[in-house]
Amino acid sequence: MTFNQLKALVLLLAIPVGFALAVRLGREAEGYAKPQRFVRLHYGISPESLYYLPFSMLENVALARWAPGKTIVIVAGNSILNGYGQAERDVWTLRLQEELGDRYVVVNLAFRGALPYEAGALVAESLLRRNYPVVLVSNTSPGTVGRVAGNAYGYLYYDALYKGRLFNHPARDANIAEWEATATPAVRAEQDELRRAARLDANLRFQALWHHVGYRHLFTTWNPHTRPQFWQARASAVDNLPVAPPLAERFRTEVASELTITQGFSVNLAEPDGSGSWRVLGPPAEIVSDLIEDMIPPKMRRHMVMLLTQNAPFYRTRLTPTELARDNLVFSAYEQQWRKHGIAAHIVGLDFTDEDYYDRSHLAAAGGRKLARLTADYVRQISPP
């Protein structure tokens, strides 16, 4: 054997050896409890900055402060529950922890733009499946449920699914299969790729290794949220989500478009009943009902608090009396809709003031405190200390 052949052989042997070593390290990395001093998911640790936290990392965060005898309160949902508009030290889930006391461990896994039963919600499902005492708090608007797959955080569903973390729920599988069958070829190809990635990762754990390196040592992908030093370890990324300015400076921009959105919360969900009042439209309510049934395993439902988050009074008071009546009817109807499936649903924000809101939908620190008090009661109702 010549020297060049020997060199080639060494290199080619190094490839499988290096690969096996990486798999081993990935399995190690999967067990690490990171991030430390976790408050919430911010730009630095979010898919928004191309940091696609693996499911195991979210689970580790949820379990990091847990001890036997404590109930884990997973806060999922969207930017409203993420605390967008509140400084890190004022995030409402810190107040919720104070309200609930030591018998509960509150973990904020809400992602901006997430659906009510997506991303962080699946962590709650995984923990419940492993018999941890869990309460899931999430939020939505009337008419919104969505699927666990096919959205920005759909990768977490496949990640959890192929690692055997979720309840067996055939209705969910069938619903997703049915949706995919009618999707465009591009969407189907994208879903296929996500599934392949998750299946491979279930054996090889490359996501855990990669995100551990990205969190602790070095990140390699440019993105606007962490520029200019995009390569810095994500552990050093600071929570710089926007904070509500003084009240006089709020509700000043995009008032017309935000008002249209507020009107839109109920416009397609109810129709005039002919006597000057409103009735809830059947088909959208049925879709919501079917999606709740299909997406959320029955075992999970009695461990859930679903908050139907209302818009700021600044906008609600600008609705006409008829629009306001429709809005109230729709919120109440959809609250009942969730309750019919055994989920503790509550409308929140009706008695909040403009002071409590950062913008149309997000809460300022004052609103966060109110939300924490209300949510603490709801959590205690389904999981007494």
Partner: protein
């Protein structure tokens, strides 16, 4: 990018060990052909495969007949297919509509009903290879006799998506050796090349793509140094992206024992535009030289025809990159640049002679001018003409 899909990872894991483990050349050839077919079918879909199979069968049969007329007929069929699938919308909605708006709109509407939304995968690439093959056979080269060998030439997966554009004589000469025995050194060198390509593509080019996409929205608010940095990033991005992809293609091919032609040779080190085109996308520029420029007459019919041929060849080269006016202008920009490079010494009289002597004495000057020329050309390549013009003005006025 096809090479960094999970599908391709799985394909690689199954295909390559199988290829290396099979010792019988004929069986290895069949395994390679199956791999290529699976790869092509997966990424192109049945609707994308059928036209290629039809064109491939036609090309093979016509070349095999040895009849020159049939060969050129097949060339025409390939070109018509390319124009039909890829350029009908551009020709009807932009060119014809500019002359006769109603007719343009009508043609475009008709075309939209029978053409797929996107042309078959790598149609331009297939057309260029088929045309090369047919023309060479018509010129007297021996055709490929075995259908399996021709099919391998046609759908050889490493070069399928972004080239390089192969020459069948080199490929068919390399194939029996590769199918007979794969050298360990080739596999190792190929793996290193693949790794280099992925680094260039993913670590560098993709990051530049993200940064450019973010900053192009506020390009006109950038300071002058930032705007020039943007231009430099734009130029670096396309080189790293394309040459990275080519490294991956060449690397995978070398791992199969087949050496594909190099496509890049430090193009940004060129000291003149002609030098640049001898280093950039070499397989395309040599194809254009051999199958457009020379058949048009090359430099055989006087200076005017030579320059006209050059401009026409580069206009077509521009259009090859995509059916849009800015690609055409990018081609004309380079064609025009080559004409200027070939004529300025005499056309400008004593000033031209002095300039030429200056470039000869200080190659750094030629390098700088070439680099700037190419970089400004990329504005035309990536952006609509009006936007490219406004960006160029901002850069040149240092605002």
């Amino acid at each position: 990018m096809i090479f960094n899909t999970y599908w391709f990872v799985l394909f690689t894991v199954v295909f390559f060990p199988g290829y290396w483990l099979i010792r019988w050349p004929a069986a290895r050839g069949w395994w390679l052909l199956c791999g290529c077919a699976v790869f092509h079918t997966h990424f192109a879909g049945p609707a994308g495969v059928v036209p290629i199979v039809v064109l491939g069968a036609l090309t093979y049969a016509c070349a095999l007949s040895g009849n020159r007329l049939l060969c050129y007929g097949a060339v025409a069929a390939c070109v018509i297919a390319l124009v039909g699938y890829k350029y009908t919308h551009f020709l009807s909605a932009e060119i014809l509509a500019a002359i006769a708006p109603e007719l343009g709109a009508k043609t475009n509407a008709i075309a939209a009903t029978w053409l797929p939304a996107i042309p078959p995968l790598a149609l331009s690439f297939f057309t260029f290879e088929f045309v090369h093959y047919l023309v060479d056979v018509a010129r007297g080269h021996a055709p490929i006799r075995r259908p399996k060998e021709f099919a391998l030439f046609a759908i050889y997966f490493p070069s399928l998506v972004a080239g390089p554009i192969k020459r069948y004589q080199d490929f068919t000469a390399a194939l029996p050796k590769a199918l007979g025995r794969v050298e360990l050194a080739d596999v190792a060198a190929g793996a290193q090349r693949v790794a280099l390509g992925f680094c260039k593509k993913i670590l560098l080019a993709d990051n530049l793509t993200l940064a450019l996409a973010f900053h192009e929205k506020d390009f006109f608010a950038l300071t002058a140094p930032e705007a020039w940095l943007f231009l430099a990033a734009l130029a670096a991005r396309i080189l790293l992206d394309f040459s990275g992809y080519t490294d991956i293609a060449l690397g995978f091919s070398q791992m199969l024992g087949v050496r594909l032609p190099e496509n890049f040779n430090y193009p940004y080190a060129a000291t003149g535009l002609r030098d640049f085109w001898a280093r950039w996308h070499i397989s395309l520029s040599s194809w254009i030289r051999d199958y457009i420029y020379i058949p048009l007459g090359g430099s055989r019919h006087g200076r005017f025809r030579r320059f006209l041929n050059l401009v026409v060849a580069f206009a077509l080269c521009g259009l090859w990159h995509g059916p849009a006016g800015h690609f055409l202008l990018w081609g004309l920009w380079h064609g025009g640049g080559l004409v200027v490079q070939a004529t300025y010494r005499t056309a400008l009289g004593p000033l031209g002679a002095k300039l030429g002597a200056g470039f000869d004495r200080v190659p750094l000057l030629g390098w700088l001018v070439t680099l700037l020329f190419v970089a400004f050309g990329w504005l035309l390549f990536f952006y609509p003409v009006a936007q490219a013009w406004a960006m160029a003005v901002k850069l040149l006025t240092f605002r």
